[in-house]
């Protein structure tokens, strides 16, 4: 029982080392995947962080502007014009 | 509406002009944009010995000979019209095989043998698992390595 288990374990280990070695091309295959994942993840993180930061800035700006709102011209509200 | 129309025409005219200009430039520099010459080019252009250029084509089946020094390989490169003999001293890329595409960098010697200082393997656009190739070979439907390449160059 223990012997069979050990053999199974060794087979799994062999399979993993075999997989990681990529037929001797590990030094090319893995960096290629790593670079791709790193760039794609970085773009997500940077974009998301910038969006959240701007959202916070806008909230604080709008809360400051709140009391003056009645006097402000309507054009700035909601529609495309103010943002165009 | 009017300025929009005008801007549209400006953009279209600009793009058309650019396209024509690019086409002209690319046609004019045609020879420089080519990465390698085929054996036929070598004959037609009558390239002189000791002029550096790249020669590309297919490695002729059964043409690979190893010299006695163990480092120099002699083989033939063909575009299925003309054939040039190539001699190369050094380690060949792992994809270097008979029937496969190669691009070599070097110059012709006085005998018309291309002395290569670099050999690059050019692979074709077919991607197949090993088992499929084996079964194709077994059933006799396999058209040989690099067959996709041959007609292209």
């Amino acid at each position: 029982m223990a012997c069979a288990q050990r053999r199974l374990g060794r087979e799994a280990m062999d399979w993993i080392t075999d997989f990681l070695s990529m037929g001797g091309y590990a030094e090319f295959v893995w960096p290629a995947f790593a670079v791709t994942i790193a760039v794609m993840a970085a773009l997500v993180i940077v974009s998301r962080r910038a969006l959240l930061a701007d959202r916070r800035t806008l909230e604080s700006l709008e809360s400051v502007r709140e009391p003056r709102r009645q006097g402000a011209p309507e054009t700035d509200e909601g529609g495309t014009a103010g943002e165009a | 509406m009017k300025p929009k129309r005008r801007r549209l025409y400006y953009v279209l005219a600009g793009m058309a002009t650019l396209g024509v200009a690019a086409a002209l430039v690319l046609t004019a520099f045609q020879d420089n944009l080519v990465f390698f010459n085929s054996p036929t080019d070598v004959y037609e252009r009558n390239i002189q010995p000791d002029t550096r250029f790249r020669l590309g084509g297919l490695v002729v089946e059964d043409s690979i000979r190893r010299q006695s020094d163990g480092l120099t390989t002699v083989f033939e490169v063909t575009d299925l019209i003309r054939t040039v003999q190539v001699s190369y001293t050094g380690i060949l890329p792992s994809l270097f095989r008979e029937g496969q595409g190669v691009v070599t960098d070097g110059s012709l010697d006085a005998r018309g043998v291309f002395i290569a200082s670099q050999v690059l393997a050019k692979h074709d656009e077919t991607y197949l698992p090993r088992e499929v190739v084996e079964s194709l070979k077994k059933s006799g439907k396999w058209q040989g390595q690099g067959s996709g390449e041959a007609n292209a160059q």
Partner: protein, 253 residues
């Protein structure tokens, strides 16, 4: 005009926010399945062995690099001609994503070239035109930054995007027009693909995943650009409270 409805930033934010979680979920699922399929299930190539797996990241990156440039060029044209507020922002938001994919395609291509061709880099028509694509993206992004007035920056950058679009068909057909070390396209519309189905399926899954990834990140970036504009106009408004009408003047036409 129907298109105008989508050019309304507020409406874009509303719709895109609704679509966003679905797109993000689809991206995660497609990339997860594609990676596992490409790395574990797909067979090795009869010539190249395991290096063929680099294709699963290299080829979709290159596709996206060119597709995103196409989006950028179309958006730039729409921005120049019709002055739609969202078009310029879409182009601007796309550029860093496209530049990222271009860099990835170049690096992974190099990592694929060394074991298969025997070289990291050659100056053939395909590789050179692709390097130019990276410079076009970088130049485009720099041009946006170079102008104090974002409207002028938008116009200059849009013109560069359109001029540079000439490069896209050159990249695509370089392998057909000239002798290159790079192989020709495996998936062309004229003949069937020259890739075995077992290698093609994970490739297409990855391609789909990269596409939804682009739109997912694009939504975040465009929304951010909309917020940035709002912030800028609010700040201007706060600096000159009496002159509000000047700052709020519609900038169309």
């Amino acid at each position: 005009m129907n298109l105008h409805k989508f050019a309304n930033p507020a409406r874009f934010v509303r719709y895109s926010t609704a679509v966003f979680p679905w797109l993000a979920g689809a991206t995660a699922a497609l990339l997860g399945v594609g990676l596992i399929w490409g790395l574990l299930i797909a067979p090795a190539d009869y010539q190249q062995g395991e290096t063929v797996r680099i294709m699963y990241v290299h080829v979709p990156s290159a596709w996206m690099a060119m597709f995103i440039y196409g989006v950028m060029a179309v958006a730039s044209a729409v921005g120049l001609i019709w002055r739609h507020p969202l078009a310029d922002l879409t182009a601007k938001a796309s550029a860093p994503i496209g530049a990222g994919f271009t860099a990835v395609a170049l690096v992974t291509g190099s990592l694929w070239g060394q074991p298969t061709w025997g070289t990291w880099w050659v100056w053939d028509a395909r590789l050179t035109s692709f390097l130019i694509l990276l410079f076009l993206y970088l130049g485009y992004m720099a041009l946006w930054q170079a102008f104090e007035d974002p409207r002028r920056g938008a116009r200059a950058a849009a013109i560069l995007a359109l001029v540079g679009f000439i490069n896209v068909p050159i990249i695509k057909f370089s392998v057909d027009w000239w002798n290159t070390l790079h192989q020709t396209a495996s998936i062309s519309s004229f003949q069937g693909p020259t890739i075995h189905i077992s290698i093609l399926i994970p490739l297409l899954i990855m391609g789909l995943g990269f596409t939804t990834y682009y739109f997912t990140v694009l939504i975040m970036r465009v929304q951010r650009e909309i917020l940035s504009r709002k912030i800028r106009s609010l700040r201007l408004f706060q600096v000159q409270p009496g002159d509000g009408r000047v700052e709020a003047t519609p900038q169309r036409g």
